[in-house]
Symmetry: C2
């Protein structure tokens, strides 16, 4: 497996574009991803009961069609809580792309991100589609333009790509995502797109994705708010020429591993770029009886406002970590817990058997002042382990969200 330069245009047969349509005030706001041949489509979506119009459309397509050739994504307006008019506008967006690319409408996934409750400026969007199609390109830059066009409060675009081999055939996976706020995915992050030229059955592609998000996108949290628009979409167009994967053999697991590398990189990028974040926080809970409990504990720590503000202040206030574990609902013995913090500046055991070690506050502060900080809690009970990613909580989160709409 080899990480390579690029994003969604890295696999064979994929092109992308991203332009300014006029939905947002200044920045690029609409993106298109296109596969030159029909691709298998799979997706995971928000579990929020309030689902945006494009989410409902993509869920329907994933169930009924599964032959997807294009994904159109706008930023600025989320098309959520918009009723029948929202559904109609979503169809018009898909239809414009379908017409321009000579595709059936059910070959076009849609996604929207931005303010909830506003209608899409559909005329502006429809007018932009011919230009969006004209700009499609297979260069890495085109993937970057697409990734930039789906940003809202993200401070940088998020892409990655890698290659690996199956049967002597080189397979490529590319991905892009956006995150920042309202990030506590319960299926997938706000918008994520994975492209690959692997040949794989629809069922296994969906299963690989659904399994994967449990360990990647569903393990990040910026603010514990599960969005109305979370969508992770994957297209596999088979152009790598490998023998199609139709059962859970070594090839399938090789794909799963490569997929997880891409989704983990994107997940960490989203966590590190959480609204107002100054650093990435990685929390590992080990020594647990079962994986599910380790997940609950690690997410309880990563989502605690008190833990997040302490990390922002470089304050090794470990009591807040034990407190967050304690209210998670998981049963464990607090007086068996060990806690270690780590970063490029060093490693330090803060807690042994649930109580403070004789550690140096100064050294703890030095460790916490890095851009990437790890906390490892050991329950000393079983052998299960889980890792969650989040970020610290700064003044800027409040600033960004106190006047997001103005």
């Amino acid at each position: 497996m080899k990480l390579i330069h690029g994003g969604v245009t890295a696999p064979k047969g994929f092109t992308a574009s991203g332009i300014y349509a006029g939905i947002k005030k200044k920045r690029k706001d609409i993106a298109l991803i296109y596969s030159s041949t029909p691709a298998i489509g799979a997706g995971t979506f928000t579990t929020n009961i309030v689902k945006a119009a494009p989410v409902l459309w993509d869920i329907k397509l994933t169930k009924e069609s599964g032959n997807i050739q294009a994904i159109v994504i706008n930023s600025g307006v989320a098309n959520a809580c918009t009723g029948e008019e929202g559904d109609k506008n979503n169809l018009l967006m898909a239809e414009s792309v379908a017409n321009e690319l000579h595709l059936p409408i059910d070959a076009v996934y849609t996604a929207s991100t931005g303010v909830i409750g506003k209608q899409l400026p559909i005329d502006i969007i429809r007018e932009s589609i011919p230009m969006l199609v004209k700009e499609l390109d297979d260069k890495a830059l085109a993937g970057t333009l697409a990734a930039e066009s789906i940003m809202t409060t993200d401070t940088y675009s998020k892409e990655c790509a890698l290659t690996f081999n199956i049967d002597g055939k080189e397979i490529t996976i590319g991905g892009m995502a956006k995150g920042s706020g309202m990030i506590h995915p319960n299926m997938a992050t706000l918008i994520g797109v994975i492209t690959t030229d692997i040949s794989i059955s629809k069922e296994l592609l969906q299963e690989a994705l659904s399994e994967d998000v449990k360990h990647s996108f569903n393990m990040i949290s910026v603010d514990r708010d599960t969005s109305t628009n979370d969508s992770l979409l994957v297209l596999a167009n088979g152009m790598a020429g490998n023998k199609a994967i139709t059962k859970k053999d070594d090839d399938y697991y090789a794909f799963c591993k490569a997929l997880n590398t891409v989704t983990s990189i994107l997940s960490k990028m989203i966590a590190a770029d959480g609204e107002g974040a100054t650093k990435l926080l990685e929390v590992t809970v080990k020594g647990s009886d079962c994986w599910e409990e380790a997940v609950i504990l690690s997410k309880s720590i990563i989502t605690s406002n008190l833990v997040k503000t302490a990390v922002f202040g470089n304050d090794a206030n470990w009591g807040r970590i034990l407190c967050a574990m304690g209210y998670s609902g998981v049963d464990f013995d607090p007086y068996k817990v060990d806690l270690i913090i780590e970063s490029e500046n060093g490693s330090l055991q803060l807690v042994k058997n649930g109580m403070a070690t004789d550690y140096s506050e100064e050294f703890a502060t030095k460790i916490l002042s890095a851009k990437e900080v790890k906390a490892i809690a050991d329950l000393n009970k079983g052998s299960a382990i889980a890792t969650a990613w989040g970020c610290d909580f700064s003044y800027d989160y409040v600033k960004i969200n106190a006047d997001y709409r103005s």
Copy 2:
């Protein structure tokens, strides 16, 4: 029922004191409440698996003794995650008070609040007890001194008192509490003390309290972090001279109603004085099928960082309210939801059938800029209703918690 001046010293037979022992840098840090006759004790406590030493002690006393005459409370150090030494120090604190007041040790409740993981400075505490006992007084001012001595990041002390009549006897209830941060009670807020001169059986006192917190202290949240130290304690010394309440008759329900008035006032005071809060947010969910669902929905809204930051910014970003309802886990039809905001500045319907009304953003901002803001969400489904209290989320929450220990 009549609200009166005062707090825990208002009922007959209760005295209190609060002094500076030296646990904190400058401010008063130890309080004592004393009943001149043995009182029935009842309590509700944190559900956090990590329980502070005084919480474990009080749970034991409530179960085994129930004849309580004193409550000693220190601030500055929480005596949580402190192991055997913590348990020993807690006993020494109770013992010092018991000796000075000539009581058995199991007549003394204890409570601690402050930093987790530090040992109590037990010598300083023991030295302060004679003075603390000497200062006991039945004046309202003595109750206020006690209420001030248990504050941590609270910006004002929280007390109230009321009288009502049973059988021509005047019954008094007084209360004090502290809150501010790590406030998402799951039994009771960090520290709350209720005193009353009513005569009531131990079983009914406990039941009245346990029922009450479901509608009062357990309905507030500052930061979704359930503390290790939550304790709500009540002492009933019977000095009002009413015929003892031993069954669920009209007298019992009159007491429950009066108790709820005291606990609701204290709960709202805690929510309004949440760390960094600039306003009180009251969220009512009505039209629900059952009370439990209305509770989940109202608490999901009140705890959303995105809702809280929008309220801080006076931004009527109602999509975040619907979003928080949507991920709560409760099943409802988003397109039946109505949403109204209210304050002393007016009332405005933002959402009708899940979509924006044609409301004035300017008027919405005016409503939200008050010190007390209400949001009412109607599911238009059933007849159950629940109300939760919280606060907005400001820069100061981050400031306070980024360097709490320094």
